[in-house]
Every structure is written in C-alpha cells, then in structure tokens.
C-alpha cells in the first residue's frame, strides 16, 4: 500500500487568533489522538489574514486544514476536523 501523504495543518498565531484561543490550540500534543497526530504535519503560521475579511461569519481563531480555513476553532472542533481529514 502506498504511504499516504500527511495532512497539512496550519494554526494561526496572529494576535487576534492567539488571544481568542489559538494559544491553547498550540498545545495540540496534549489533546490530539496520537494516531491522528502521527498522520498530520502541524505548523504555526504568522497570520492567515482571515480575521480582516469583512462580512466573515466565522471569527478567530482560525486553522487551515488541507486547503480549507476553519474559524471559531475549539479544541474539540480541532480534534474532530483533523481526525476527519486524516481518515478521509
């Protein structure tokens, strides 16, 4: 079986995201399922630029999973979405 490519996950560490929950997301080691963790490549990003978009329904913190940017991220939502992307 060909080895699957890891899912790219980018956590925004910009000011708005960081103060509204992004800081806790950076501790992903502590709450993410190890199997899911092994199958994704998590990194920080200085700003995804989403918080400045006018009329956006979602707020900070933002996380990019694959090519999609998700807002209003919480630990639970993060775990679910990353797991979903890994098992897809």
């Amino acid at each position: 079986m060909a080895k699957r490519e890891k899912v790219a996950v980018k956590i925004c560490v910009g000011t708005a995201c960081f103060v509204q929950g992004g800081a806790d997301l950076l501790l992903y080691d502590e709450f993410l399922d190890p199997i899911v963790l092994a199958n994704c490549e998590i990194e920080g990003v200085s700003c995804l630029g989403k918080c400045k978009e006018a009329g956006s329904k979602e707020g900070a913190p933002f996380v990019q999973i694959g090519d999609v940017v998700h807002g209003d991220m919480t630990e639970k939502k993060f775990c679910d979405l990353v797991a979903e992307a890994v098992h897809a």
Binding site: V13, G14, V19, L26, S46, C47
Partner: protein, 397 residues
C-alpha cells in the same frame, strides 16, 4: 544619530568580609560639552574610613574636572586638600581622573591624571600601547617624600580601550598563587587575551572578567577592594524594529528598501508585517513552535532577520518588562525575552511604525491591552531612554 559610542563600565569586588568598599568610582556624562569624566579613587585601608576618604577625593576630582580649570591644577588642589596619615606619612587616598572630550569621530581627546594608582592600560584593538607620561613632583607638608603625579594626553580612536584599575587588581594573589601579586604585566596579558578572544567584548564584560580573575587569584577572598574600569570607544550597535504594515500597499517597497539598507540587527514585530517582508525578500517564514507561552505568540524564523515576533501583544509585554527593569534571567524563554535581550545589546534603536489599522483588533472581544501601536512604541522608547540610556528614533510609514 551619533556615529560614536563611548562605552564606560566598571566592576567592583569588595575586600573579603567588607560590606562597603574603599574604592570609589564616579562617572558623569555632559552631552552638551561632549565630555565624559570618570574618576577612580582608592582610600587608605578598607571599609568605612576608606570609603569616606575615597568618596571625598573622587567627588572633588569629579567636580573640578567639569570646571574650566586645568586638570593638573585641580589635581594639585586635591593633593593639598587630602589629609596625610599621621603614622604612615602617606596620603589618604589615591586617584585616577579620566577626562574624555569627543567633539567629533576622529578627535577623541583624553586627559589622564594618575596619582599612586596602578598605571592605566591602553589597547588599540588587542595591541597594548605605551605612551609618555609627564611627571609632576609635589611636596606637601607632613609628607615624608615628594608626591609624584603623572599626567598625559592621549588621542583615542574607534576600537581603543582604556583600562584603569585599583591596586586590588595588581596585588591580587600576592603571597599565595603569585609571590609578587598579579602585577601590571599580568593584568595587561589577561586583558589582551580577553580582547583577542572576543574582539568586540563590551566594557561591562571585560571589566567583570578582570575583576573576577583578580578575585580568583586571591582564592575568592580578596585582600583589598578590586575595582576595574574600562572605557571602550566603538561604533554604536544599531537595531531596527519594524512594526505594522505601511499605510498603503505602494509603500511596502519603501519599507523593503529601508530594511535592505540598514546596517545592524533587524527585528520584525507583527504577523502581517512579517508576511509583507517575507514576500518582499522572497524568504520563507517559519513559526518556531518549540517554546510555548500562554502570554505571547511564538517567534518565527526568517533568514536575514534577527527576530520575528507577533506585534502588539509582544510589544506591550516588552514595554512593561523594560519599564519595570526586569532582569533577563527572570523572564521566561519566549519572544519577549529575546526582544528584550536584543534591546539591551543595542545602543541605538530605530523604529519604523506602519500606520495601517488592523481591523481585526477593533473587535470588542479582544483584551484592552492591545492598545494603539503608537502609544506602545512611545512607552518602549521612553523606557529605553530613561531606564537604559539608549538612543531611539522613529518614523511612520
């Protein structure tokens, strides 16, 4: 901004068991007359008595140096004022006065008056320089011998160091590790070795290294007060802090130009600003997740830049740390500490402040500590100037 920086610092270790020193060091800068005067005085004996005598001498020397009076004449006045010890028939305090006048970069005039302290040392880069001293003999009432005062004029240039120390350094180790003490030669060799090892060693570090070595020779229980003062003439260390995106996109290129032409350390503070710079210089921006902190976002790494941090949160924490004069050791290892460390290592800090407003920070759910960029930069500059005597400047883009 000034192209010249005269770095003066001293280190002092009291005689073992004493809580007060018999060596007194004074330093004053007079920016209007471009003059710096440093005085080192060693009072006879140790403890309180020596301290009183040395303070008296140092303050006299200091005040007189700032007057229009000729330095030799002031020295004579001090000598005649100094009491003479009844038993030993010698003077109560020795002194060295270094009077530096620096009207321009290639004209740094030093007038040196030495009385009974070990001879000062001069290094041009790491090469010791010997110069002629003019001897002045004075006879005072009650003294058993003629007093010899030596005076000299020196021209210092960028890269030169003048080292002045009390006899606690030259006599270190006497009778123990070294029968005749460390002596002038020993201090010279040690200082030369230190400068060769680290050619840009600061006055702070060099003076401490010499004083610690002397104390070590005395087996960490010094027999006399050890004071070492270093004057180092050098180019200022500059740091550029870029924070906030320029008001319009067209000005991004100007920012790039300014960054390219700046000589010194470069700090980028702000996520969006970092993205702009990474695009302009075509450099990869990577967030370093190895150090986690609940207070400030992690630093990023970009080739060619010394520090890349988040903006407002980090800056306000840096301003607070500088205002409270927090010691580096007490700060956790995060972006704030790295920022403060770079600030401490600079003589001149230039801020380029982007004036574009970040819409995301207008959200009422964001903590109030994220204030207005200008206010925070104002606090930073004030703290740097008042608490750390740094030169700062700023421009808006």
């Amino acid at each position: 901004m000034n192209d010249l920086f005269i770095d003066v610092d001293y280190a002092q270790i009291y005689k073992s068991g004493q809580k007060i020193g018999g060596d007194v060091f004074l330093l004053s800068r007079n920016p209007e007359r471009e003059q710096i005067v440093c005085t080192l005085s060693d009072g006879l004996g140790s403890g309180v008595k020596a301290n009183v005598l040395a303070s008296l001498t140092a303050h006299m020397a200091h005040k007189l140096s700032f007057s229009e009076m000729d330095l030799t004449h002031s020295a004579k006045i001090i000598m005649n004022t100094l009491p003479v010890c009844k038993e030993r028939k010698i003077s109560y305090a020795t002194f060295t006065i270094v009077d530096i006048r620096h009207p321009s970069l290639d004209d740094i005039q030093v007038n040196l008056v030495e009385y009974d302290n070990p001879q000062a040392l001069l290094f041009r880069d790491s090469k010791p320089i010997v110069w002629q001293r003019e001897k002045i003999l004075l006879h005072r009432e009650g003294a058993f011998k003629k007093e010899e005062l030596s005076r000299s004029s020196l021209q210092m240039a960028v890269g030169d160091r003048l080292i002045v120390f009390s006899d606690g350094a030259t006599q270190a180790g006497m009778g123990k590790a070294l029968p005749l003490g460390w002596r002038l030669e020993g201090v010279r060799e040690f200082a030369q070795h230190q400068i060769e090892r680290n050619p840009s060693i600061s006055s702070h570090d060099l003076s401490r290294a010499i004083a610690r070595k002397a104390n070590g020779l005395d087996r960490l229980a010094s027999k006399d007060d050890i004071t070492v003062m270093v004057v180092y003439v050098r180019r200022p260390r500059r740091t550029l802090v870029v924070t906030g995106p320029p008001f319009t996109k067209e000005k991004d290129e100007i920012l790039g130009e300014k960054l390219r032409n700046f000589e010194g350390k470069k700090i980028i503070s702000g996520g969006t600003t970092a993205l702009i710079v990474s695009r302009l210089f075509n450099k990869k921006l990577k967030v370093d997740l190895s150090c986690w902190s609940a207070d400030v976002p992690p630093v990023s790494i970009m080739e060619g830049f010394d520090l890349v941090t988040e903006g407002m949160l980090t800056l306000s924490k840096v301003a607070t740390a500088l205002e409270q004069k927090k010691s580096l050791r007490t700060l956790p290892n995060d972006a704030v500490r790295k920022f403060v460390a770079l600030m401490m290592d600079s003589d001149q800090v230039h801020f380029i402040v982007g004036t574009k407003i970040n819409e995301a920070h207008q959200d009422p759910s964001i903590p109030v500590e994220i204030g207005i960029r200008r206010t925070i930069i104002g606090r930073l500059r004030k703290a740097l100037e008042d608490n750390y005597l740094k030169e700062t400047s700023q421009e808006y883009l």
